[in-house]
């Protein structure tokens, strides 16, 4: 297995080196090496999952403070496997996408480094290796977010937000992990876990909260999510797929690592906090996804939403553990992992599709798109599969996850503990809300972008994605279908990944049975029933048509409101489709509405033009971050008085500092 690790690392390093080549072959070469590297990592992960034993390898003289230490546990292997699958698809996709963007040397090398670091983070066996890989991941993805800075000033702003959030998060994580390592007198995770029993409650909670803040910011948890819609939207297609499909997961991995593995005896309130964060994140993410106009921003908010659901499951698991319901705890943890794997599959499908749309039209604004299903048939089909999966429609994989989440939340209600019952009830309510909003968001995403008629020249001039891009999208979409139809593919792998942490008793190939708890699900049967119902409706319609002899049935465009002669302007737009949601949640979202009516000069009864604008800037950004930034800026302006440009004054500061130090050190 050491060879597989060597293959992963060497091929990854080769990909970085080839990415930096000045030759034109850099993208295919680098992508090939990345596929090899990811395949190596995936094989390694599969072996660890199959045997259920850890794989360990270490090299003490590479890094200071404990050295490079690889320790691949089944849980880590699960994350490596997911990252590798998304990475393979993204790399293949990249070869085609590079014609459009992201073909430069710095972008190519950073992409390779980003992919490699995503594979290495879950393999880390000690604090040093973990933080090293984590930081590489943060920095390389930062370069990729800013890669288009020359043409798009927005990407600089996005990169700045991302840089601050990710480095702040990394700082919090470093504090927590280094603190734990100092307490255990070892940087190894296994030593930290055994030493944690001697940790006092307050200290452990402090470390946990720091780690939670850091990892939650990576996972896009409200209120630390503000970077996510910006960075995911600005990053190029394959990078946003990797960020959303693999990087965000590692935030969850970190929370499990610290909360369950390193500090297993956490008090109940930790998991109440996690549940609360999860519920809020899911609701906020779904709400903004439902009202976004920008296709990639919508997907990014939906990522927040899904991570919120994962945290809900994690929180339910921790709560059930603390109330002595190990079966429910195991089920909920497995649910969290199933949700996470699902999300990686369908969200990377969707982001690759959105990248293809952006490459073909040069726009992410749905109000400028439309009618792409005729011009980009395969992309629209894969996007539809992804959209159905994220909306939890059977027989796609999202449905299994959602069902499991409902099962574990409802079973956790059987507890006698008041806190967990209240949390569970709220969680079920939050899920119901987000489920509905998610469907609205993705009906909009698919309907406005791919159906109807093209709204602008850009949309009309679109063309299908290149072969390699279609291959990557198609493969991921097929994975969504396969894991949905045969849920055991998903649940079985997850159960193996949790070996040693939890033992969810889920069995069955096509039918999932929750032995020990009541519950069974056959997605295939459900979808058969669904198809049957559809066939029934269609047959009935034909029958009615025949009997009443509708001679001339006009077939018009879908979403065309049944009109013959309509202009593209008469269709629903993303703005108008999201408007009711914006109105219903007016008090929460506080949109800036701007209605601009201009009259014809002759008469005030005739309108010349009405312009409606509603900006739904993130309410947390507006009311939490903006004031904080303004405060900081005001403070900085005040401090500027100290720096008036006089050399003597600066020298005097130096002398004063020196004198103060001498006096103190005396």
């Amino acid at each position: 297995m050491t060879r597989l690790l060597a293959l992963t690392v060497v091929a990854g390093l080769a990909a970085i080196a080839w990415g930096a080549l000045s030759s034109r072959a850099r993208v295919p070469l680098s992508a090939l090496a990345l596929v090899v590297s990811s395949a190596g990592a995936a094989t390694l992960a599969v072996r660890v999952l199959a045997t259920g034993t850890n794989f360990a390898w270490s090299q003490t003289n590479v890094l200071p403070l404990g050295g490079l230490d690889v320790r691949l546990t089944p849980l880590g292997a699960l994350f490596v496997l997911v990252s590798a699958v998304v990475a393979i698809a993204s790399s293949v996709y990249w070869t085609g996408y590079a014609r459009h963007a992201m073909a430069g040397r710095s972008a190519s090398a950073s992409f390779a480094l980003f992919t490699l670091s995503l594979l290495v983070v879950p393999m880390a066996g000690n604090v040093t290796t973990f933080l090293f890989a984590w930081e590489l991941m943060a920095l390389s993805s930062l370069i990729l977010v800013a890669h288009d800075h020359a043409r798009r000033p927005e990407s600089i702003s996005a990169a700045r937000w991302y840089a601050v959030m990710t480095q702040g998060g990394a700082g919090a994580i470093t504090l927590a992990l280094v603190g734990l390592a100092a307490h255990a007198h070892s940087t190894r995770f296994s030593a930290i876990a055994t030493a944690s029993t001697h940790l006092s409650g307050a200290v452990a909670s402090t470390f946990f909260l720091f780690a939670l803040a850091g990892f939650a910011s990576k996972a896009g948890v409200v209120p630390l999510h503000v970077w996510l819609p910006k960075a995911h939207a600005e990053a190029p297609g394959p990078v946003s797929a990797l960020m959303s499909g693999a990087m965000v997961n590692l935030g969850v991995y970190g929370i499990i690592l610290v909360g369950r593995t390193l500090l297993p005896q956490g008090p109940q309130w930790w998991w109440l906090v996690v549940s609360l964060l999860g519920g809020t994140t899911a609701a906020v993410g779904a709400l903004y996804a439902a009202t976004s106009r920008d296709l990639k921003r919508l997907l990014a908010y939906s990522t927040s939403d899904n991570m919120g659901l994962v945290l809900l499951a994690l929180g339910a698991s921790g709560l059930s553990l603390s109330t002595q319901h190990p079966r429910v705890a195991s089920l909920a943890l497995a649910t969290a992992m199933v949700l996470l794997v699902n999300h990686s599959l369908f969200k990377s499908t969707l982001f690759l599709g959105a990248g293809a749309v952006h490459a073909a039209t040069g726009s992410r604004n749905m109000d400028e798109l439309g009618g792409l299903s005729r011009l980009m048939p395969l992309t629209s089909v894969t996007f539809l599969v992804g959209a159905l999966a994220v909306s939890a429609i059977p027989p796609l994989n999202g449905f299994t996850g959602e069902w499991l989440l409902f099962q574990s939340l409802l079973h956790s209600l059987a507890s006698h503990d008041v806190a967990s019952v209240v949390a569970g009830t709220l969680a079920v309510a939050a899920m119901a809300l987000t489920g509905g909003l998610t469907i609205i968001a993705f009906v909009k995403a698919f309907g406005i972008t791919f159906l109807g008629r093209g709204r602008t020249e850009r949309a009309l001039g679109a063309h299908e994605a290149t072969f390699s891009m279609r291959v990557a999208q198609g493969a991921l979409a097929l994975a969504c279908v396969a894991t949905g139809v045969v849920p055991y593919l998903l649940v079985g792998v997850v159960a193996r990944g949790l070996a040693g942490v939890a033992s969810p008793s889920i069995s069955g190939w096509a039918t999932l049975r929750l032995s020990s708890l009541s519950g069974a699900l056959t997605p295939l049967f459900l979808s058969g029933a669904l198809l049957g119902a559809l066939a029934l409706v269609a047959g009935w319609r034909t029958l009615v048509q025949r009997r009443h002899g509708f001679a001339n049935v006009a077939t018009l465009e879908a979403w065309g409101s049944g009109r013959h002669h309509q202009s593209p302007q008469m269709q629903y737009t993303a703005t108008s489709y999201g408007e009711p949601i914006l109105r219903v949640f007016d008090d929460v979202l506080r949109p800036d509405r701007d209605l601009d009516v201009s009259h014809v000069v002759e008469s005030r009864y005739y309108l010349e033009r009405i312009r409606y604008r509603a900006s739904n800037e993130d309410v947390i950004e507006r009311f939490l971050y903006r004031p904080a930034l303004a405060l900081l800026r005001a403070w900085a302006r005040r401090v500027r008085v100290l720096a008036n440009g006089s050399v003597h004054r600066y020298l005097a500061y130096g002398l004063a500092a020196l004198v103060v130090i001498l006096v103190i050190l005396k």
Partner: protein
């Protein structure tokens, strides 16, 4: 034997600190340059005496080198600037002369107070003199703060450097040749750059006082 080593060392160190005070006292740029030159010579002598005492030919060589660079080469470089561009006097310093001498005295007291622990730690006759090294550094820094002329600033910087070198000679058993060589050459380079810069400032903007640089701010 002991007297023959301590007395010249004391004398040389006193030369260094007194010349540091002199640069603060005299307003004439030529006079402060002369003091700086003397300071370099004193520093060189300190190194040579220590080297002779420890029978360390390398340290003696370092002393000769210091004497040549800091005692002769650097002051000469600066004096050319003074001769060419500048009138020979420092205008009015930011703090008047008596007050700045009092400040220098206070800084010397601080140096003695702050290095008590260090002196107690190293029990050699040379280490007793460490406070003078620190005091020289502080006085140099102080001179940079209160003086307006670019040339005076350079002199202050060099005094800081001399103070650090003096502390290093007294506290350690000899600075390695490579280190001392590196530091001295760095300072020489810095002075060459500053000289050019000061000349340019004078010719381009007719600036002699660094305070006038504030007009370039914003």
């Amino acid at each position: 034997m002991k007297v023959s080593y301590v007395t010249p060392l004391d004398l040389a160190v006193v030369v260094v600190i007194v010349t540091a005070a002199l640069t603060l006292w005299r307003q004439s740029l030529v006079a402060s340059l002369r003091a700086l030159s003397l300071q370099g010579v004193g520093l060189g002598v300190v190194a040579m005496v220590l080297g002779a005492h420890r029978r360390d030919p390398v340290l003696v060589f370092v002393g000769v080198l210091v004497l040549l660079i800091k005692g002769a080469a650097i002051p000469r470089l600066i004096s050319r600037v003074v001769a060419r561009d500048h009138p020979g006097r420092e205008g009015s310093p930011l703090i008047n002369i008596p007050a700045s001498l009092v400040g220098a005295g206070l800084l010397t007291l601080l140096a003695f107070g702050a290095t008590r622990g260090l002196v107690a730690l190293i029990a050699t006759p040379a280490a007793r003199l460490i406070p003078f090294g620190v005091a020289t550094t502080l006085i140099g820094f102080f001179a940079m703060v209160v003086r307006r002329r670019a040339v005076s600033q350079i002199v202050g910087l060099l005094t800081i450097d001399n103070g650090i070198a003096l502390t290093a000679f007294l506290a350690t058993s000899g600075v390695p040749l490579v280190v001392e060589l590196g530091v001295s050459l760095d300072v020489l380079l810095a002075v060459a750059v500053l000289r050019v810069l000061a000349g340019h400032l004078h010719r381009q903007f007719n600036i002699q006082d660094l305070d006038q640089l504030r007009d370039l701010h914003d």
